[in-house]
């Protein structure tokens, strides 16, 4: 009987060296590394929640194929009788307070106050895309247009000119000029009383999926998507038109919530080869840890606090201060805002300190520079006008948007900040200190939310998932 000898294929390099041929098994979980000539098959499965209530949804995803990161959650409201709509900046994402991805009792990814986090993340969608794509898919609508003056000629006929005194939110409908005011309305498909269905991408819920795909077929335990919803009575689910009754209960249509998952399949031998060649898979990715604090304006004038991060590899700090006013629904952005100081000196100073030194040699006071620091941290610019970011210029119109003055709704309401931690080293046991001086916010109670982007590592060993901090 002949003995089976394991052989290894060799190749000759152009320098004449002989070496083993590189594995031709592509990394199926790394986006972009798969050659395009593979035969790919998709299986779309619509999952109903295994647990559902007005405060919580849980989906169980089957262990088959590879999870497509752009799979979608679809969701809608029911029984809304007021003229209500999802907040302009964050859209349908307002509904979800916490998003958790679990497997085998381990938490792969979890973001608290996910809806507020998405208010920040939504700034990076180009205004054109918000108007033309996101208003249909996620109800996000932040886009501006010029509001041209209508002038009257001697014959009192209104004629248009090219002068625009202000900018106004672009809903796709041009403002209607009434006898006493000019008002921008919203398309009917955005009004919650028409029960439109919107979607949320899985890769938005769990940002690490933008760079990774989960090989479900290689995992022993099922994957759970758990979504904690904002309370139906919280006044944070929807915003309402001026004059509508406040304090209503807004329910999610639990019979119309679906998780639509695309399972990706490659040729079986390819998937088997990948599984055999990768008994252990390691995914390194970023997750976001929330630290929040209640503040009153006098505290916000000089606030130094430890925001965590001790012992972790933290790559980014994202923060903003939002008003806790319980009338969120009367705001076009609801409470998903980051306030710029709107009284006192209208100034801000901030810095970040970790591992015994400050990031910035001098506290940053220039708000346009803070805008640039977001660009540096994220690698792209936020699509937010000056008046909406640092409350300068009074360029937003005082005309109405669905019954409310636009400048009162959007001025200084997207003053988020982000800092890239630049030392390339683990944060020491003392953690990260955030120094902020808001001089000063108008009266009320506020919450400062800080998300730390930190490194996490997940391993899948013989189908068993393990997760730890990087």
């Amino acid at each position: 009987m002949s003995e089976i000898v394991e052989t290894q294929e060799m190749e000759t390099t152009i320098q004449g060296d002989v070496k083993p041929t590189q594995s031709n098994v592509p990394d199926l979980v790394k986006i972009g590394s798969i050659p395009s000539n593979l035969q790919i098959d998709y299986d779309t499965t619509v999952y109903e929640p295994v647990t559902k209530s007005q405060s919580f949804l849980r989906f169980q995803i089957d262990n088959k194929g590879i999870l497509h990161s752009n799979s979608k959650l679809t969701i809608s409201m029911t029984g809304v009788t007021e003229s209500a709509f999802f907040p302009f900046g964050v859209g349908v994402n307002s509904l979800i307070e916490r998003a958790t991805l679990k497997c085998g009792g381990k938490t792969l990814s979890e973001i608290d106050d996910w809806n507020h986090y998405m208010a920040y993340r939504s700034m990076f969608i180009a205004a054109e895309n918000n108007k033309e794509r996101e208003s249909i898919t996620t109800a996000r609508l932040m886009s501006y247009q010029l509001e041209y003056n209508n002038i009257k000629s001697a014959s009192t006929t209104e004629i248009p000119n090219t002068k625009a005194q202000a900018i106004a939110v672009d809903t796709g409908l041009y403002p209607s000029v009434g006898a006493s005011n000019t008002e921008t309305l919203m398309p009917d498909y955005l009004l919650a009383d028409n029960a439109p269905v919107f979607q949320i991408s899985l890769a938005d819920l769990f940002p690490f999926l933008k760079m990774n795909q989960i090989p479900l077929y290689m995992m022993r335990d099922p994957l759970f998507v758990e979504l904690t919803l904002v309370g139906a009575n919280s006044k944070n689910r929807l915003s309402i038109q001026a004059g509508e009754t406040t304090g209503q209960t807004y329910n999610v249509d639990l019979n119309n919530v679906h998780m639509i998952i695309d399972h990706i399949y490659y040729p079986p031998e390819q998937m088997e080869a990948f599984a055999a060649a990768n008994q252990q898979i390691t995914l390194s990715y970023h997750d976001y840890n929330l630290s929040k604090q209640s503040l009153v304006p006098s505290q916000a004038k000089n606030n130094i606090r430890n925001v965590g991060g001790a012992g972790r590899i933290v790559t980014k700090v994202i923060h903003g201060i939002s008003n806790n006013a319980n009338d969120g629904e009367t705001q076009a952005l609801n409470n998903f805002q980051a306030e710029y100081p709107n009284t006192g000196n209208n100034t801000v100073e901030l810095n970040v300190r970790y591992n015994n030194s400050f990031i910035y040699p001098i506290d940053v006071k220039n708000t346009a520079r803070l805008y640039n620091l977001i660009t540096t941290a994220e690698g792209m610019t936020p699509f937010v006008p000056r008046d909406s970011y640092n409350d300068e210029g009074n360029s937003i119109t005082s005309n109405l948007i669905y019954g409310r003055q636009q400048n009162a709704q959007f001025k200084g309401a997207m003053f988020y900040q982000a800092h890239r931690l630049h030392k390339g080293e683990r944060v020491s046991g003392k953690g990260i200190d955030l120094y902020t001086k808001y001089d000063e916010l108008s009266g009320g109670n506020y919450t400062q939310r800080v998300w730390l982007e930190y490194l996490k590592i997940a391993t899948i060993t013989n189908g068993v998932l393990d997760v730890y901090n990087g």
């Binding site: 180009a126 205004a127 054109e128 886009s143 501006y144 010029l146 003056n149 000119n161 090219t162 002068k163 625009a164 005194q165 202000a166 900018i167 990031i359 910035y360 040699p361 001098i362 006071k365 220039n366 708000t367 346009a368 520079r369 805008y371 640039n372 660009t375 540096t376 610019t381 936020p382 699509f383 937010v384 006008p385 000056r386 008046d387 970011y389 640092n390 300068e392 210029g393 009074n394 360029s395 630049h422 030392k423 390339g424 080293e425």
Partner: protein, 433 residues
Amino acid sequence: MSTEHFEIVPDNVQANGKVSYDKSGNPTIRIKIPDVERHLLAGTVRLNGKFQCFKNAAEDAPDADTAMRMTEAIGVYSVIDSLTFQNFNGQTIEKIDNYNKFCSAFIPVGGSKQDLFDSYGTTALSMPNFEVQRLSVVNNASANTFSIPLISGLMNGHNPIPLSSGWGIGGLEIIINLSPSSNVFFSASTTSASFADGFYELSDLSLTGETLVPEPAQLQQLQTQKQSVIEYNTINTFYQNINSTNAVLSMNLGLSKVLSIFGTITPTNFINNLVENGLANLYPLNTDNSVAKIKSVIWQRAGERFPFLYNIDTMQKDDNAQEFADPQIVRNFQSAVKVFSEMGRTNVSPENNRVEDNTAASLSYKLFTDGGSTAGIGVSYDHISNDGVSFKNIPLGLQMNLGLTSNNPHALYLFVHNKNTIIIENGNVQVIS
């Protein structure tokens, strides 16, 4: 490898920290990034400060009745007349004259209308409409904060710049010459009486950015290297005059790797004129303000047509009544600023690139919406070799046939995008263009 933020204030500002061409008598800002054992991350460099406008010497803010305007598409970039980068030995690495004119061509081509609201709006105080920019920036009684990248070949490059005098360029000095207020502001009407002594003022200026700190082993390697070569892009400015129906220009650029050339045209009597916009990019005008339509453009190298082996004949050659800009002219201009096929966002549109008389019966150039007029000419050589075309000892030729029948001289600002090389050898720096 880690990075460190820096914040540097100018060397030469007065005690009150305010800078103004007209008021302080100090039209130059000099900032030195020190000679340290680090690399400068050029993409992170920002000039920060506050910008405020006054309608008279008494420092009153413009009001609703003040007809004071500035170029809305470029905002605070209007105040920079020239930008120079040099090392501490005074060797010029890049110098862009008529910088505000360059920005008035570059920004609308590379940024969209929404960008003028958002990113350029927040950082550079631009807006896509003249009136809302006037009301929100010029008339703003409080100072406007700005934080701008110094758009240039050197700063837009991706390669870190070695600052060390031992193994790099030996420090970087940035010299900004400010523009006179008479070339920043212009009238929204036909008179400048309401702001005859108007001026602008910059304050709280600083330069911020990040440097890359090499690891000890890497630093040792850098310190022992005998020679290093850095390739970077530059913008070089050339100025010419046009005042005939057949403009024939010949220039020795002295540049060996020219990637593209683009130019903008302004009547010379608009420059430093408080009534007209000296930074407007227009199609030529006759003295009666009728548009002097361009009929053909010919680009030449060494007396031969190049890269187009034909005349670019415009629609106006066959149909003089045509008021749409010629698509070949527009496309080549855009492509010279940013490779056309890679242009994801632009603000050039039929609304603001119009072959239009400057008269009340038509639409005055001051009333163009979407950021104002974006006319220009250009040619890209980058498509040909990816490494530029040499005009070292070979003249550039440009011929334009146009309807400029009256005596109305026009300034043609040509911006040449070139690839330069710095050779660093034993601490000596040699710039090769």
